[in-house]
């Protein structure tokens, strides 16, 4: 239990400071379930945001987060506590999400096109911009979509995106540029008419 290692750290108190997090990580590495639960509580929202930028649906994001934390739990003894835990964890999350996307593609390729349900959305109801944006996002590569969402929605820097997705910072910058150019081209009409 963490209490036996660091009595001053409460698992339910707000977490502040890298030193506190390091103590929790070390406790989790020594087998404390409470400490690992605290890490989940601290990082699950950010982890969700990372995987949500990569997968296509909220449900897939939930699956990827669970799988990511499972991988992190198994690999915890290999983590060096002098490194930032968040960066390490989000890289694992991104890999779990990318794995899920790959598996979905294989599964979808095996299914007959007739089985793919395309829900009807009334443009007047859901908003034409969102409708068009959703459609335009499908024209991006998985990585371009992930980069633009991580940058514009989650506020990641290019460096953070590169570390999370395992790509050079310059590639993240380039992906963002191309993603924007594609969206700009595809949404030209709607923007000029609005």
């Amino acid at each position: 239990m963490l209490a036996t290692i660091s009595p001053s750290v409460s698992m339910h108190a707000p977490i502040d400071g890298a030193a506190t997090e390091r103590a929790i990580v070390i406790a989790a590495q020594r087998g404390s379930d409470d400490a690992f639960a605290a890490l989940v509580r601290i990082h699950q929202r950010r982890a969700y945001s990372v995987v949500r930028a990569i997968v296509l649906s909220h449900e897939d994001a939930e699956d990827a987060v669970q799988e990511g934390f499972l991988h992190a739990h198994r690999a915890l003894d290999r983590f060096r506590p002098d490194q930032p835990f968040g960066a390490w964890l989000y890289r694992i999350m991104a890999n779990a999400a990318l794995d899920l996307v790959r598996r979905r593609k294989v599964r979808d390729a095996d299914e007959l096109p007739d089985n793919i349900a395309i829900p009807f959305r009334d443009p007047a109801e859901s908003g034409e911009l969102r409708e068009r944006l959703q459609e335009a996002l499908t024209h991006l590569t998985d990585r371009q979509r992930s980069v633009i969402v991580l940058h514009d929605v989650e506020g990641f820097t290019h460096g953070e995106i590169g570390r999370t997705l395992g790509i050079p910072e310059g590639t993240a910058r380039s992906d963002l540029h191309h993603a924007r150019a594609t969206l700009r081209r595809l949404l030209q009409n709607i923007r000029s008419s609005s």
Binding site: R41, Q44, V65, F69, L70, L133, D152, R180, L183, R191
Partner: protein, 121 residues
Amino acid sequence: MTDDRWMSGEAELTGELRTMYAAPTDESYWDSLEARILAHVARGADVHGWWSAMSEMARPALAAAAVLIFVAGAAVMHSRQLEAREAYASVISAAPPSIETAARTASSGDGDAVINYIMSH
């Protein structure tokens, strides 16, 4: 338009993206997700532990099986070699009588028959 920023008119797109990708805001949702994550990890840890135990037991079992197969193979080879040696030895030791002995026996038998024929006539 720069590489890194939308133009002012395009801020609407960013707003729409944020709406589309917004994480749930309900606290109870995160409590529930946390519980599901921990349950998933616990299940995974159980399975992982089971597999680890199995793989730990599998290594010595595989080594023992390999030794057993080697010993059995050596025993089969040895018994086949023995059989072959015995068969060869039996062929060598059970050689037919020499031609001279056979001829002598045959000739003495013929002589007796001739004498018996003369005496009876």
